[in-house]
Symmetry: D2
Subunit: 376 residues, 4 copies
């Protein structure tokens, strides 16, 4: 399996480049009988779409999904489901300069080292454009986990540069808060702490005008997850979620629960007490147990506890910069480069639907795995 | 694949519980012709072994490996290699109290939620004892990557509680510095910053006497890695390494390169310039290119750049405590629990060989994958 | 992996139904640098195409392939390669009768038993139309094994009903003999024993006019295969080839070498003697050994010997018949059915490119696997 | 996955050689709660055991299984289950002659071509001794499918050389008929047509005294299989069963239902009519439909119909012969060889439990897959 598939039972396989005809995903393992149409895919694709505001790349793509198979009479059939999203606004001439030079921080050099040459147009397969296919698949996964057990996945921007959001109760954040400001205008940075949004917008605009970019962090929360999801040892839920997030472009760090904060704690400070709980509708066999606090981020022993799953990912600043940088040519000769294509000054706002998609795909996969191997 | 295998081509499958007859690993994908004997496995097993010092659990296991197959006349045959490590010092009576109560921070509850019941003796399959099999397999992986391309993996303790080591040039740290103090005595905490070792030892001893535990962090460094290792999209090297480390017990966070530090940086601050480099002996096809700095942690686009791979993992404080904690029974009734078994006051010193093993296994796997699909 | 993928390293994943928008295949594991264009895919797609003669279904499809990704500047890039073949001649009204009744010999009932409902238009995903995607992928596999080691795969019709071809030296048969008669006209049945072709054509035409169908057998030969391809134990070359052929619709039996003929032989009659041979250019490490005869069909211990690989598959008569048959409705009530859609009176002529494709895909997969794990 | 694993969800991974310390299997995907002890494994291991009669090899092995993990308090835990069977009667000196010569019909040459060298003692990993691990795993699979849906798998010898058994109603054959003759003595050839058993015994004894061997065929029947098991396209039940059987040593051909007999039939002769049936307890969603006849061997579209699954496999005569044969050395020089080790004059009697095991493993795997992806 050379790297273009993810998941075991809910399994996605993708293909497509930034400037090729389009991106396609085949989803294998969608249970039969789920109502599905392109309307289910469009909202998340629109959240991921380039050109949605001045804070993102100005490439214009409608990202209209075509369901090629796996749906009949409006319901999934149980056989493989393919979705095609065509590219329409490639401007390959923008990228001719990067054919022979390596953009700092980018995958140009490593692709050449791996394959001997590369599709340099817009980064080819290394472009975040490949995540279009993931987001489409994620919308299917979201629908599955919601119908199967009421699961929900939301992500938002928790930090842009030094600006950190304050979100005391992450499990209560709504999609509305992430997407829309109190005045009804779009929440361009997708941060539910509306008090800090103006500063975040200003910072991104500043780095953009400065021909620079800025990093940040995203918070992901999954609620309604029944206790017992995940497998011990190698396919721990935390391990699969980490792989899912690290597989996204520009992610340099992932933590769950208290994360790196655990380094400084004692066990007596870190452990969350168990308390009496109620039965889980989605997993009635699980004992009626809950946790008093959630430093453990909803997972123990790599399996869900029923508490909200809390993840955090760090996203580096966009590598492509319109300002001059030092680099070398393919022959190793010193050169300067200035990337004149259309790029996001900050990846975070469009990262949100990608992070939700990958999280939902992992949960859908483990839901199917759980159904397969249960108490006899 | 229900979770007891890891890797695609260099693939390990493990079985075994804390108090069963033993732990076994089958390694599939070991190339033929590598010289291998139990002597190659013993050093890392000894580093992982319980009872090695007062800072670790006092369970006494010799962890003697038996190679059951896959080696003939001292060389690997190319067929599946099995290694068995028997348990010898089980004291199941120690654990009878945890049959009906859930230890806070532990996998007892989630195992019951997943499987309906559990092997409660010493945590069964959730015990870190299962990592014995991983460490044995990791020793094989280390040998493979060293013979194949001169690769080396080292890990060490970089933080215990608030105490942080200072290691300015991680790529120059030696196994000797990690394992031995200047006076020739064993470096019990496996921290190469010897100036802080006494404080770390004192802190662990303090929490131990306090019937408590303490968290910390580990640094992992892989050197000699040729540029181009890894696959784009889902099986990025960073993604597989993150999954590998998160699959280890008690890991709550993983970062590579500048990690969470990237959130606050601008692209112009974060990008590492490319500079002229020399050809890589292990990948002569790669362009003669190097990076001036290493904020990127040796990976771009999910593939290695040839710079040292730098990872950091957070390990929570041991959940099992000899002091009283609040919990519930299997029926959800409030209870108190005091775990009287033998436990590590700090997991970090024994975590080191586990982290090295998983890192080496990922590198070995991607080395084989790289050989399979190369420029034609 | 719920069944729509095949292969480990050269891995195809398909989607598509008979009457949906089209069929798509994602091929993962194509090495970079292979020259590829739609022209490489068209010949085998044309051989599989419906409507090519009076002996096949009259559905008219151009089966024009669109390469969606994985090729740049005329060469494969090493990343996933997607091919889309749109359906253009669906006539769904033809199939309305089969919505509520089960066609004898068909997958209608088992699909309902598996998934609760089905896309009944033309058989949906159970239609042989899904093999379009396989044949496109097979053309890529053929190109890979030919460039990598000079391997070639050919198949032909060896039997139609009671009519058996005589082909004394299968390894000398050419594509020309399979596709074209001596007078330059198309060899409609794809049998290289031209003396029996007229009878075969007449028999197929007779069953067609009789509103019936007829079974037959295909011979598959792979030449130029270096010794040592395949893996011991579960992924024996013979096992993967058998799975590949049995995964094709209507295949009821597969044998290799002497096949069922071995039941009656003694070891002294069946064993093929080894004789001195010459070195294999594609596997210079293999000893200079050959086999005097080829009852073993080119494989011993599940690995290739360097002798031609000889396989034979039985293909049942088309299940869909325009004549009346006894069946039941979805509610289990007795009914009669007459399938009025367009069907092949004999599946064999169009089965040939499918069998070649699946054989080539297995060989490509094992070639990559062989490169990954070799003598060290 | 380099070839030592089989199955997706009920997944076995094996290791071990003929003359190493032993054979081990790790079974991943055993649902929790199944009662299991070594007593469940011993009967089939005894049926596979060498030395059980004069018709088999005289190597003496007790084949006592040790369950290393995955069972607690007599029940499976849901985590990986490992079984070790030690070798005790290796006589490596018997095999020293085959170090430098290739036995005709054997895997010696292909192992050298694949790996550069081989464990030549008793055939190493190519020895049928590796099937010990499969048979142990098969016993677990048998127990699972029986508890889950009342499924049963039986196999028997249907042909030895020219001697063919007559078994008019294969679905009514009992284990008793296969294992025991009417007079209570063991049925050494495992053929339920007791009228032909004496001739079969005599023939095997004759070829044994003649320093020769003889081929044959096995019939496999699976009953109690609910309709709808299997997946369409690549993982058809017939495809996975074929791979399972072809992965066994010496199998040259597999057919199901009417098999090669379909070549000569018309569709109107071959199709089995559907008739009203009753609901399947194991799959209540399946329509109440049955088939009037069973030329289709219990599978349509690659999924089970509820009718008995009927398979037939051809097994070649043992390659190792005590008589002189022509061969070459590793250097390609002509030589003669006489294999003086202990070998079965006919593989069929001991093949039976192997065939049952692999069939049961496929059914167990698809049962779990079916539970994972069902109507929503």
């Amino acid at each position: 399996m050379p790297g273009n598939s993810f998941g075991q039972l809910f399994r996605i396989t993708t293909a497509g480049e930034s400037h090729g005809p389009g991106n396609v995903v085949i989803i294998d393992g969608v249970p039969p009988g789920i109502h599905l149409s392109p309307d289910d895919l469009r909202p998340d694709l629109a959240r991921r779409r380039p050109g949605q505001s001045l804070l993102t790349t100005q490439r214009q793509e409608q990202d209209e999904p075509e369901i090629l198979s796996g749906v009949f009479d409006g319901r999934t059939t149980g056989t493989s489901l393919a979705i095609l999203i065509r590219n329409t606004d490639q401007r390959s001439s923008d990228y001719s300069d990067i054919r022979d030079k390596y953009r700092p921080g980018h995958a140009d050099f490593t692709f050449d080292a791996r394959y001997g040459f590369r599709d340099y147009r817009g980064g080819g397969r290394s472009s975040a454009r490949e995540t279009t296919a993931r987001v489409a698949a994620g919308a299917v996964a979201k629908k599955l986990i919601h119908e199967a057990f009421g699961g929900q996945v939301l992500a938002w921007v928790s930090q842009i540069g030094p600006l950190k959001a304050s979100v005391p109760r992450p499990e209560h954040v709504t999609l509305q808060q992430i997407e829309t400001l109190p005045d009804g205008s779009p929440n361009l940075v997708r941060c539910p702490d509306h008090s800090i949004v103006p500063q975040m917008v200003a910072l991104i605009d500043e780095v953009r005008r400065d021909l620079d970019s800025i990093g940040g962090a995203a918070q992901i929360v999954a609620t309604g997850i029944p206790p017992g999801l995940g497998d011990p040892v190698f396919d721990k839920l935390k391990a699969d979620l980490a792989k899912a997030l690290f597989s996204l472009p520009a992610v340099l760090a992932v933590e769950y629960g208290i994360g790196f904060g655990c380094c400084e704690l004692r066990g007596s400070q870190n452990n969350d007490d168990f308390i009496p709980g109620s039965a889980s509708p989605a997993n009635p066999q699980a004992p009626p147990v809950a946790v008093a606090t959630n430093r453990h981020g909803g997972m123990l022993g790599g399996m869900s506890t029923g508490a909200p799953i809390l993840l955090r990912a760090a996203v580096k600043p966009t590598s492509s910069l319109a300002r001059e940088q030092q680099t070398v040519t393919r022959n190793g000769e010193p050169a300067t480069i200035r990337t004149t294509g259309r790029h996001d000054p900050c990846l975070l706002p469009r990262f949100i639907p990608m992070a939700e998609a990958m999280t939902a795909i992992v949960l859908a996969d483990h839901w199917l795995r759980w159904q397969a191997i249960r108490p006899h």
